[in-house]
């Protein structure tokens, strides 16, 4: 089991107003899954992904990532866990604008302390995987939306993480590019047995998933 959530709730407090984003969510994710978290806007998909990705802490309940209770980890330990075990793909790509495609992909390896001579072939292989070897020296503003998302996928995969979290990865792409990106994620899932967890409210995306979890009003809907 890569991720286990036990009775997780998340409440946001804005002034005196309390907003329940998740209520008593329990979920287990196994290695190699291609899991789709599906639900309308405001249903709690992103909150759930944030908790799985160790970006936020639950109000109640516990989150285990690779058998580690994330509530017991320090900020530095959480940073290390995210760097070594989790890759992120964002809806708006979130590439570092001052770095080239090569450097964006290389960044997680630098954080992992991989030597420069070992980084180079891995980054080149990563670029080849997503078909962007010719765009290595291009900065994000010189790439199309689809190309940026491919770079983001290569960046997420480069450190050989146990899972990749993708928050509505196709939302900012046209349908054809979105389809290509999803197919690429499926390919990577099969090739490397990397667990993929992605959120979407697009019902067409579900067909690519090995498992679909529906979420509504902060609760997982039972099939």
């Amino acid at each position: 089991m890569i991720v286990t959530l036990n009775c997780v709730s998340k409440i946001y407090q804005m002034g005196t107003l309390m907003t329940k984003a998740l209520t008593n969510v329990s979920l287990s994710i196994q290695k190699g899954e291609f899991l789709c978290i599906c639900g309308p806007s405001g249903s709690g998909k992103s909150t759930l992904l944030n908790l799985i990705g160790c970006l936020d802490c639950p109000t109640t309940g516990s989150v285990y990532v690779e058998s580690k209770d994330v509530s017991t980890l320090s900020d530095n330990q959480l940073s290390q866990l995210r760097n070594q075990s989790i890759g992120f793909v964002f809806q708006s790509f979130n590439l570092v604008p001052v770095l080239t495609a090569f450097e964006n992909i290389e960044y997680p390896l630098i954080l992992q302390g991989v030597a420069k001579k070992d980084r180079y072939p891995r980054v080149i292989a990563g670029l080849q995987n997503v078909g962007l070897e010719k765009f290595a020296a291009h900065r994000p503003d010189e790439l199309s939306g689809g190309q940026r998302q491919r770079v983001a996928i290569a960046r997420a995969l480069i450190g050989n993480p146990a899972m990749i979290l993708a928050d509505e990865p196709t939302a900012n792409l046209d349908s054809q590019t979105g389809k290509e990106i999803l197919e690429m994620m499926v390919l990577m899932n099969k090739r490397y047995q990397t667990t993929f967890v992605f959120s979407t409210h697009d019902p067409l995306v579900k067909q690519y998933a090995s498992r679909v979890v529906h979420i509504k009003d902060g609760e997982i809907e039972q099939p």
Binding site: S46, Q80, N83, F90, N94
Partner: protein
């Protein structure tokens, strides 16, 4: 190159317009600081060297006890039989000139008018070295070829007496034994030292003439002029054995002890320089803090992304502090270069005309000195200020909540 340094360097030039404005403010501040500092450095040098070369020399040697009791009873504290002492002094290589002086309070009379004055007996052969900062307004300075009865007076004294070069004046004083004595001398020159007070009292005469007036073969002091003012420490060490001799005990005073005015001027200018530096530093600090805050404001989502990928809080903190450091370093280098160019342009164009300071009879032309110490101080000051400016914005960036940063639009 470390990835943080690479990121910081690229981020500095990310918003070229804003970075350009920040560099402009840093460079402007540094030009102000260095040009003013250069003006102050030149003024210190000018005041120091004019004090040394017109009045006091670098070191004055007296008979032991002169400093405490010599003012009340100068005749009891005269140096006599100074040949051995002079031989020892001339053996010290850093001493350019060692010359005897004998001064006394006296009355100066034209026959119709009588004023008080200070007579200074100098060795005409050596006096040129001590007069290099004096301006001869009329006639000539005392020199080896001057007439034995010739003397030079201050310009203010000349105005007070209404006399001119070629006229004769009478000096009255008391001898060592307390007898009234008088001598006559011919005005061969009128000079201006810059000090209005001094110019209104001094009468410079050949040493032998003053000795005959005061009825003594002794001298009040031996004045030393060094090759360089920076040789002081080294010469003082070499003087120590001479202080300990028993047969002709001596003591000395340095030019700083003899010119408290210099120390006061230095303190005033240093105070103004500190104030200017503080104002400039504050302006730059606020400017860079604003630049850094704007930069963070625009990069909230990027900070969230870096944190999500595993960048630690300390690394985010270091990144923004590094950006402040680089802003200061690059801006500082530009500031030094522009300041040196501005200083050179001012100097080439003839310097800055400064009107006479209080107590001085003439103004001067100031030049801008840019010594390495001033340039390095200004550079390090700016780097420190910009690095400090980045601390709070960097702290704020490192404390951003990842989820909120990623959701920021």
């Amino acid at each position: 190159m470390s990835v943080l340094l690479q990121l910081a360097l690229r981020n500095v030039f990310r918003n070229k317009r804003r970075t350009g404005i920040t560099f402009f403010s840093i460079v402007s501040g540094m030009v102000g600081m260095i040009v003013f500092g250069g003006f102050v450095s030149y003024t210190f040098w000018g005041l120091r060297e004019s004090t040394i070369h017109t009045q006091v020399g670098h070191i004055q040697i007296y008979k032991k006890g002169y400093s405490e009791q010599g003012v009340a009873q100068p005749s009891l504290f005269l140096l006599e039989h100074t040949d051995t002492l002079f031989r020892s002094l001339r053996a010290i290589k850093s001493i350019q000139v060692a010359t005897s002086r004998l001064s006394a309070a006296a009355l100066l009379s034209t026959g119709e008018k009588t004023v008080s004055c200070k007579i200074i007996g100098v060795d005409p052969k050596e006096d040129a070295s001590f007069s290099s900062f004096e301006t001869v307004v009329y006639g000539s300075q005392l020199g080896p070829n001057s007439p034995e009865d010739g003397g030079v007076i201050g310009i203010e004294l000349m105005h007070a007496l209404g006399k001119k070069v070629g006229d004769y004046l009478t000096v009255l004083s008391t001898t060592k034994e307390g007898m009234l004595n008088a001598i006559e001398f011919k005005i061969i020159g009128v000079s201006q030292t810059g000090s209005q007070e001094y110019d209104s009292v001094f009468v410079k005469l050949p040493l032998k003439k003053v000795q005959s007036l005061l009825g003594t073969q002794g001298v009040e002091k031996i004045v030393l002029l060094l090759n360089k003012t920076s040789d002081m420490e080294h010469v003082l060490v070499q003087l120590t054995p001479l202080l300990e001799q028993k047969e002709n005990p001596i003591e000395y005073k340095t030019w700083q002890e003899l010119s408290p005015f210099y120390g006061k001027v230095v303190n005033i200018y240093k105070g103004i320089f500190k104030l200017v530096t503080t104002i400039i530093g504050t302006i730059i600090l606020l400017g860079v803090t604003n630049t850094m805050s704007m930069s963070i404001f625009e990069r909230v989502r990027e900070i969230g992304t870096l944190r999500a990928m595993g960048t630690s809080r300390q690394a985010i903190l270091s990144l923004f502090i590094l950006e402040g450091f680089l802003l200061g370093s690059i801006g500082g280098i530009l500031g030094v270069l522009v300041s040196v160019i501005v200083a050179k342009l001012i100097n080439i164009s003839g310097g800055i005309a400064v009107s006479a300071p209080p107590g001085m009879s003439k103004g001067y032309t100031a030049f801008i000195w840019t010594p390495f110490s001033l340039l390095s101080f200004s550079f390090l000051f700016i780097v420190l200020v910009t690095t400090l400016s980045s601390l709070y914005p960097a702290y704020r960036a490192s404390r951003l909540r990842i989820v909120e940063a990623l959701a920021y639009h």
